[in-house]
Amino acid sequence: MLEIIREYGLMLLIGEYPHGKLGGLALTLIISIVSLAVTFPCAILIALARTGQSRPLKAIASGFVHSVRAIPLLMLIFWAYFALPMAIGFPIDATYTLIIAIVVYQAAYLGEIIAAGIQGLPNGQVEAAKALGLGYVPTTFRVILPQAIFNVIPGIVNQLTTIIKESSLGSIIAVSELSYVMLQVNSNEVTKPLQIFGILAATYFILCFALSQATNWLERRIANRRTGRVLVEVIA
């Protein structure tokens, strides 16, 4: 076990870099954080549409959320990797197609989390903002969203854990993230699959376990800070 770490440890962390493309754990983290960052504004738009007054927007957002929840992520990845370049007429790097698929998938889930945060706020917030003469935009962006998003921070961090786990699907379309690197190590070594996949599982475990502990801690802290009734739906 130790000699595998000694021999392939650096590869596990950064892939073939600097002799080739950046990969391994570093790429997994980059993909996850970029995906979350791109998902975030999309999720806010979906949450606003879901909780807003406009019926057509509500219907579109709810149709999107329900459709995405009905499709496996792998199917979205196949669409993004095989069909999308065909549809737009030029090739896209596999890493980007993975990020696109995760963003579409997570926009639905994160959108629901933020929508739950908005619905969890007491009505008085909107009424007070109106009474002060604020229009829709300042009410939404300066009163509702800052509070709603603060309340669902644990849900958002939890979603980062989910994205890290989902990025492992990149190994199926040859994105050189953590899982793919270890699959390659496995085909080099052949005789030690249990150790190699044990190390791989342990790496994900340490990362995701730490993040989920952080989620619990944040949840307690935020619950203490907001003495009002706040429901945080954590979707596993």
Partner: protein, 232 residues
Amino acid sequence: MGYHLDFGKVLQGEYLDLILQGIQTTMVLFVLSWIFGLVLAIILTVVRAVKFRPTQLLVAAFVEYHRNVPMLIQLFVWYFGFAVVLPDAVNEYLNDIGAEIGYAIVALALNKAAYMSEDFRSGMRSIHPAQMEAARSIGLTYLGAMRWVILPQAWRLALPALLGQTLILFKGTSLAAGIGVAELSYQARYIEEQSFRIFEAYGIATAIYMLISFAIMWLSAVLSDRFRLRVK
């Protein structure tokens, strides 16, 4: 060069057979892992409820492993890792009868057992301890109180989460393609490779996934409503 959608090309002969086989394999994976997962989840919940520290810790470790490691990696660990522990003769026999699907069912079932046991546990936890005390004080035994007071409420509280897990499991069966199980997404990929009908192959597979997922969602809504806990 225009691309003409022609679903007829994929929905006939050999390709249609592959799609139907794919659906069948997906459903076998789904149903068997669901049943095994649920049974194991109940056992895990009971073991964790017994106040004996070492077994409680073991169950907690089991749950945390399955929650914090990607599903795909859990499949890899079984498919690549576990196989080397077995003697060669056993492996040869397993490969003859199709080991991939067996490993996939084991991995999916263990994963769902971990999540479902957590759902049961949080269902149990949301019932106030005073209910147990009250039940015992009117003369019910511990098991009697469980049977007549705690469990009838707990399973209703856990039901929505369990139904959510059911949908996640159904979608999760697609990951078995990663270890070469010929289920629906694997077949879609294969048909696409053979026929170059990208949009048709993935379109049909996606439509089938959506259809079954919507059925699961609809049934979940009906069941959640029917068994909602009305007394609080």
